[in-house]
Symmetry: none
């Protein structure tokens, strides 16, 4: 039941936004009364926090797998990471959108738990770039911080337009993106 509510919450928060979604909306969709909601969650914000935590933890876990894979060089790791992040947006698009858009509605206290994790995702990408530079795979002149922001921008912005109905699969998009990141668009 708690999972059911979380699922419905994700859908509604994505479609209508956190503030525009009332507890009543969620309960109507699940088919219970508001009391039931407060049996499982202490507040609307707690549900939002649950969604955030599960999304970000999932992402960090996947990143870990990629980072610790010794069989891949940095280019391969970069590709895997871009693909994984895109795919997580393709598959958990609703969660992703809620994550990016509604963070503001978490209390300061809760943000202190989420923000370091969000930063970790970025630092994990930075690490791949740095390792690649050390190993001679990437340009030594690269401004790693700004480049990472660029790469994350490419990926994360996709939640604004990415069509999860699958016309263009995440794997295809990832290829185009990684190609662009590695070799640029110039002849």
């Amino acid at each position: 039941m708690k999972e059911k509510m979380t699922e419905v919450g994700i859908q509604l928060f994505e479609r209508k936004g956190f503030s525009e979604t009332s507890i009543q909306d969620i309960c109507d969709a699940v088919g219970v009364t508001k009391g039931a909601f407060y049996y499982y969650f202490t507040s609307k914000e707690e549900l939002l926090m649950d969604i955030h935590l599960s999304y970000i933890n999932d992402m960090l876990m996947h990143q870990d797998v990629i980072l610790t894979d010794v069989s891949k060089d940095s280019k391969a790791k970069l590709y895997e990471m871009v693909y994984m992040l895109l795919q997580s947006i393709e598959q958990n698009g609703a969660s992703a959108r809620v994550f990016f858009r509604e963070m503001r509605h978490l209390s300061d206290e809760r943000l202190t738990e989420i923000i370091p994790k969000r930063n970790q995702v970025r630092l994990n990408v930075e690490r791949v770039l740095r390792e690649g530079i050390e190993k001679g795979e990437f340009q030594t002149t690269l401004n790693v911080t700004i480049a990472t922001f660029g790469i994350l921008g490419i990926i994360n912005w996709s939640y604004q337009w990415f069509n999860p109905t699958g016309e263009v699969p995440a794997r295809e998009v990832a290829k185009v993106f990684v190609n662009m990141i590695l070799q640029g668009i110039e002849i």
Copy 2:
């Protein structure tokens, strides 16, 4: 007075969000009563629409100047465009954030006016890429649509992290980004 209200509206919508900002908040900040607000705007949404229109029209105007400049090749146009978009985020950061985050609160009717303009911004970037390909400046194999989304992602995502206090100026960031877009990060 109307401009004063719009200015205050932008600041508050950015800081607290559209839904979380009440008309009262705006009037308190301006120093008038709610009746005055409704003398200038027919609804809260109209103010939001005003903000959107002025931001997007400004952007389209700047793009037009760049596109019609015959003295520049496509690479230069791309650089100008990236720089202009970044700068508009650096300088009108609040408007930019409101534009990207709060579009959802416009009615369908109003969205039909905004969305084509937003698409036009994207199509203008696409056009630079296509012209560059035709002129032999960019790779012929390029998937223009996806690449454009990538480029816009790099730029637009910057509103999430871009520090407008100027530690790193927009011009610097634009250089790094355009370099990455043109030549990639690979050695």
Copy 3:
């Protein structure tokens, strides 16, 4: 278990008030779930009634002992009665406060059981005064009804300020009060 709940109920009703104390509060303090409460009590009000009954019955019992003591004159009985009532506030302060403050939350039906008993406490004091007048110990001109209200006021109001930490013991306070009641404050 029922006693444990009653005890906790008294403490919480005193500290936070009847309406402000939830069944959940009581159950949390006892360490059980709400279902358990309803196994022992049919409603929150029944718990309040139990507290009332046990307090008032205790008081009436003590008054009976004093009233039927043939070895004491009326002055001595008055002293004993004042002392006993003060002491019951000193020792069962929480119960006393709940009794005086929260009677309003009993249903009319239950009030018809409590109010006569509460009146009986007053009538018992009146009886001491009347007996004292008959025996020539108290002034014949005394308005017994009003005087009794005054005496009960002196005593009962003490729950508002009486410090049960024992800085001034009930016996001391009782002496001052009875002295004042008997001889007044005039020279």
Copy 4:
């Protein structure tokens, strides 16, 4: 309108208690909607505070008049004070009851404004006693603090039983009480 709401608030808070009176109750009685209430008061507690302040300020003002009257000796001042306090309960019984019963619902912050004033009422009575002792009107052995609590108990408790329909007027009750306080009940 604000006064009308305050008046209705006093009546309802007295009859049903603060917690048991909803804003809706007050608005129904006045014939407006809830929004109107919040136009005049920022919270339910503010209304309670208004009631408290106006009651206690009124009382302090009357005490001041009595205390600064040089034409009266201490006995006369004591009588005036008892009479005034009783009368204020007789006439503003509802306010008085709300004052004594519902103080708990004020926030700590607001209590720091009210409690010193409530103490001042007590200290003003103490002052009459002390002056009377100095002038040789009252017993030198008197425990002023406890006696004052007794006197206030006599008076304040009357809100529990005092019938403002006027069967026994406040002036009559005051005479009986002052007589008892001055000369006691003993022959």
